[in-house]
Symmetry: C2
Subunit: 264 residues, 2 copies
């Protein structure tokens, strides 16, 4: 297999990384993509760094064996806690979602402006976005929103309850931020209620979209973009493949075809 | 170690089984109790039967090595899906929470009455409560309420959002059931908002309390109640022991002391 034709590996704790997959598929229709969702151990955002690192290394080993040319950690929690550990064991480039998301936020915010980072408890506790934005002259506040993931997984993205939860988390920040980072790959599914809760003067920064753009730019710079016109998509999960397939279709409009199972 | 002085093993996917632990500790102050929470893989309620059975068997092996005299599966999802598999490998009696909960509901409901079972998606899909209540002359409806667990784990049990979620799930059944079974060991933490959403004519049946009573009766019948006056409590989790300890105290008023970690 030529280097250019090798697949891109993408992983997440479950379904959320499909928002990155979707952006990537739209940007790079010729690439072969392998997506892994760790549905047996989802969610990561409430678990310890030690556990998230161990899970991420196992998945990385699995994807490396598929001869990938690039690994995208399409999970903010794993990007926050395990990126260094994954890079240590990977001979191919590893891209997380934190740095692209932080860079996209800086473009949306004036110097001295205020950025609100939303994410899981683990991502917020890691302060990875604060570190990525340090020295850039913006003020950063981080807010954990742990109910957003189960709300999205329930498919309740446009129910009144979703608006109530968003108001509970974001009400105190309404009108006070120049940009809000969707610092969890599930959150783009709730973008509308989040935007409504934070108010019209705040730009919404989608780290999933930013990561997909960074992946394209990185591959182009390395001369590794595929020359094909229609790439294959492969989906692998650690549990409940039918449910994954059903939610991918219902929440994201992605038709997975048969989803494979790899248990650890 | 004499048979009577052996500990009782209790396990759950995480924190919820502590509602069973709390009832048991109050009923049987002299017993030694070992609680295992599978916090690395929580929640179980959204996962496959195959995964829940594999996890339950691993934990059972761990607790059996502690020379327990009784094993309580203090998780409705694991009781629904894995009780048979656990009983096959256990030389000591195994008690789930479904049968005690179903028996308690029958006491609260007239013949021909209606029982509403609330639980996780996995518990409801298993129809374990419907099977346990079959032939008893009551009408059974089951309703999955997957957001209740993350709401409880967030400590939002008395926030307006909890009431909104309860209304979303239970509004259609308001005033229509004679009893509602709290078919998940997390749900007693949300008992107040659940009772308000379902309305005053519905009795709330707590399967955690029913399981603790069944454990006491079973041990008494077998002559295995401890003669001691003050038993020890031991807590073991598969991830994030400090968080477990903190939530046990905040949500349930249980002081765990040092929590051990056992990773699988």
């Amino acid at each position: 297999m030529k280097n250019k034709e090798r697949p891109i590996g993408i992983f997440d704790s479950g379904l959320g990384g499909l928002t990155v997959f979707r952006e990537l598929r739209a940007l790079l229709p010729g690439e072969n993509l392998i997506y892994f969702g760790d549905t047996a151990r989802v969610p990561y955002g409430t678990k310890s760094a030690e556990a998230v690192i161990a899970f991420s290394k196992e998945i990385t080993g699995y994807l490396l064996a598929k001869k990938i040319k690039l690994l995208i950690v399409a999970c903010n929690t794993a990007s926050s806690l395990a990126l260094g550990a994954v890079r240590k064991i990977s001979p191919v480039p590893v891209l997380g979602v934190i740095e692209p998301g932080a860079a996209a936020a800086l473009k949306a915010v004036p110097r001295g402006g205020r950025v609100l980072v939303t994410g899981t408890t683990a991502t917020v506790n890691s302060r990875a976005y604060s570190r990525a934005l340090a020295g850039s002259g913006v003020r950063v506040t981080e807010k954990a929103c742990p109910l957003f993931v189960p709300l999205a997984e329930e498919g309740w993205c446009s129910k009144p309850v979703a608006a109530a939860v968003a108001k509970e988390y974001l009400g105190p920040y309404r009108g006070k931020a120049d940009a809000l980072i969707l610092g969890c790959t599930h959150y783009p599914l709730l973008k509308k209620v989040i935007a409504r809760a934070i108010g019209p003067r705040t730009a919404i920064v989608d780290s999933a979209k930013a990561a997909a753009l960074a992946a394209r730019d990185g591959l182009a710079a390395a001369g590794l973009l595929s020359g094909a016109t229609a790439g294959r998509s492969e989906f692998v999960v650690s549990d409940a493949p039918e449910k994954f397939s059903c939610l991918a279709s219902r929440l994201l409009g992605i038709r997975t075809g048969k989803v494979k199972v790899k248990r650890f």
